[in-house]
């Protein structure tokens, strides 16, 4: 088997006395969709922040395409092909949707006209082209989530981290986003996705990694994981196990 695109090696991240991510290891193969699940506060977003360079791991390291990227700043990691979205969306509220995406396009298209053209293409793909000239502050939550994806895609990443891009959408919107994610996978993008909605995550993931209280408690295909007693216990409590 080829070298995995991402390897998380015994990563621990502490905040003072709190161990938010505790000795977690797993890897992601090229072209895969891996779902990262776990109850609230399990450490999913913290792990995303470590992988995307927002936090340096307290222990362990992260290998991306064969290079140790732990502790490298996010803007360098964007340059090597890691795109991410934020669970708490971060639109540039005072700018238009097109400007938001154009800024991300500068990474691969340093000329403004080229970046703008590329941003339009991305917006056509994500279904936001109709809203290109409105202020990002004027988007609904669904629109803002799609803007998050658009910005990450405009980086033309090889690896995409999606943090709850479906949660909070109505079923129609959710289906559209799932459709988009499957389209991206078909284009060869590797995706690590955090999502609480089981219907979605079970359907789109090739494999799942389950966190609870910062620790990895299970890993495997969706069917393996859903029948794992540790996972059932983490999600439904002692009695159900």
């Amino acid at each position: 088997m080829a070298e995995p695109i991402l390897k998380v090696n015994s990563v621990t991240k502490c905040f003072g006395g709190l161990t938010a991510v505790d000795d977690v290891s797993f890897s992601v193969e090229k072209g895969e969709i891996v779902g990262l699940i776990g109850p609230n506060g399990a450490g999913k977003t913290t792990l995303f922040n470590v992988i995307s360079g927002y936090y340096a791991p307290t222990k362990g390291n992260v290998i991306f395409q064969g290079n140790d990227i732990s502790g490298k700043p996010p803007y360098d990691l964007a340059g090597v092909g890691i795109g991410r979205t934020f669970q708490v969306v971060k639109p540039f509220a005072g700018l238009t949707v097109l400007e938001n995406v154009t800024i991300a396009s500068f990474l691969k298209h340093p000329k403004k006209a080229d970046a703008e053209r590329h941003a339009w293409q991305v917006l056509e793909t994500t279904g936001l082209a109709d809203r290109a000239n409105v202020s990002a502050a004027g988007l609904t939550l669904a629109g803002r989530k799609r803007l998050e994806i658009s910005k990450a895609l405009a980086l033309e990443p090889s690896f995409l981290l999606l943090d709850e891009v479906v949660a909070g959408l109505n079923p129609t919107e959710a289906d559209r986003t799932v459709e988009l994610i499957m389209k991206l996978k078909a284009q060869g993008l590797t995706i690590l996705i955090v999502e609480h909605i089981m219907r979605v995550i079970m359907n789109i993931s090739d494999r799942l990694v389950v966190l609870n209280f910062g620790k990895k408690i299970a890993e495997g295909t969706p069917s393996e994981v859903s029948s794992d007693p540790h996972v059932v216990q983490a999600y439904f409590g002692e009695e159900a196990a």
């Binding site: 995307s52 360079g53 927002y54 700043p73 996010p74 803007y75 964007a78 340059g79 795109g83 991410r84 934020f86 708490v88 971060k90 639109p91 540039f92 509220a93 005072g94 700018l95 238009t96 097109l98 400007e99 154009t102 800024i103 991300a104 500068f106 990474l107 340093p110 000329k111 403004k112 970046a115 703008e116 053209r117 339009w120 056509e124 279904g127 936001l128 082209a129 109709d130 809203r131 290109a132 000239n133 409105v134 004027g138 988007l139 609904t140 939550l141 669904a142 629109g143 799609r146 910005k151 990450a152 405009a154 980086l155 909070g168 959408l169 109505n170 129609t172 919107e173 289906d175 559209r176």
Partner: protein, 333 residues
């Protein structure tokens, strides 16, 4: 729209160039020279404050540093004006670099307070050093040619405007700065290095300000810590930009013209009431922030519809779900 804007600019530019040939009154020329200078100070201030979102309450320090650099180089190192002038900009740029390292890590009010404190410290330095003449200030060799200074100021500010216009409105740099202003953490994920961009923006703001300070020193021929390093330069720049419209170039220019015209008229008729002028400036900031948060320019000139969608490849009529992104009541965050 674009062409009309260019035409208006060309007419204003031509009028400003011809003016000294028509107006021979030295007082009027002097007022115009200073007015043009304020346009330059306001747009330079806006680079860091409006575009990047870092309200620099010590902008005046760059002006004073430029003024003193030219003064010292001309009077003590006996350099000619043209050799000293670029050094004024460079000195201000270097101070921005050094001051930026600790202060640009701060956000919001903390940055404003830190830059204000630093500018006070620089004023104290000028008050206590021998090289600067201390509180007595410094007299420069006089070159009494109002036309020369009017044109020099006009060309410098015109060039500053053109360069800033290119960098901030045409090149990617301006949008990148706005990304920093809107969300520094979010910008990092898109490949932007906030530390680097903020530093570039601070230096870009300081350079022309130092040069303007240098021209001012040679023009007025006398500088002291209160006239060039006092609060007034920073305070006026803040009011002009906030009142005119932050994060644009025309807004601060408009703000500079209006505030400076007001100040000139006010001081001409009520010269005993400088305190009252400061009170009015303060009130004006408050009123602008509350009633016209986008400033005069942002309120008068609504942003045009923006970029047009490029030709689309034959695609099925846009799917209905696309509408779900349309603005509707907030759904929370």
């Amino acid at each position: 729209m674009k062409n009309r804007g260019a035409t208006i600019l060309a007419i204003i530019g031509a009028a400003l160039l011809i003016l000294p040939l028509v107006v021979h009154d030295t007082f009027v020329l002097r007022v115009l020279t200073e007015g043009v200078m304020w346009i330059g100070l306001a747009i330079a201030f806006d680079v860091i404050a409006g575009y990047t979102g870092y309200l620099n309450f010590g902008h005046g320090a760059f002006f004073g540093i430029g003024a003193y650099t030219i003064g010292i180089l001309m009077m003590q190192a006996h350099l000619p004006f043209w050799a000293a002038l670029p050094a004024g900009g460079v000195a201000a740029g270097i101070v921005a670099l050094i001051a930026g390292i600790p202060t640009l890590r701060l956000k919001g009010a903390y940055f404003a307070i830190a830059t204000w404190a630093l500018s006070r410290a620089i004023q104290q330095l000028a008050l206590n050093m021998e090289m600067t003449g201390g509180p007595d200030g410094m007299r420069l060799e006089a070159f009494l040619n109002p036309q020369f200074f009017y044109y020099l100021m006009l060309i410098t500010v015109g060039a500053t405007f053109a360069i800033l216009w290119y960098l901030l409105e045409r090149a990617p740099f301006g949008l990148k700065l706005k990304a920093i202003r809107e969300d520094e953490e979010g910008a990092k994920a898109l490949g932007l290095n906030p530390t680097k961009l903020k530093m570039q923006s601070f230096i870009l703001s300081a350079l022309p300000t130092g040069i303007l300070g240098g021209i001012y020193a040679y023009w007025i021929t006398f500088i002291d810590p209160s006239s060039t390093l006092g609060d007034l330069v920073s305070d006026q720049a803040v009011v002009m930009v906030v009142f005119g419209g932050m994060g644009t170039l025309f807004g601060p220019a408009l703000g500079a013209i209006l505030i400076f015209a007001f100040k000139t008229i006010f001081w001409a008729y009520l010269s005993d009431f400088q305190l009252l002028y400061l009170i009015i400036l303060g009130a004006l900031i408050a009123i602008s922030v509350i009633f016209i948060p986008n400033g005069l320019w942002g309120t008068l000139v609504k942003r045009k519809a923006g970029a047009t969608r490029p030709e689309q490849k034959a695609e099925p009529a846009s799917e209905p779900a696309a509408l779900s992104a349309v603005a509707a009541p907030e759904e929370g965050n």
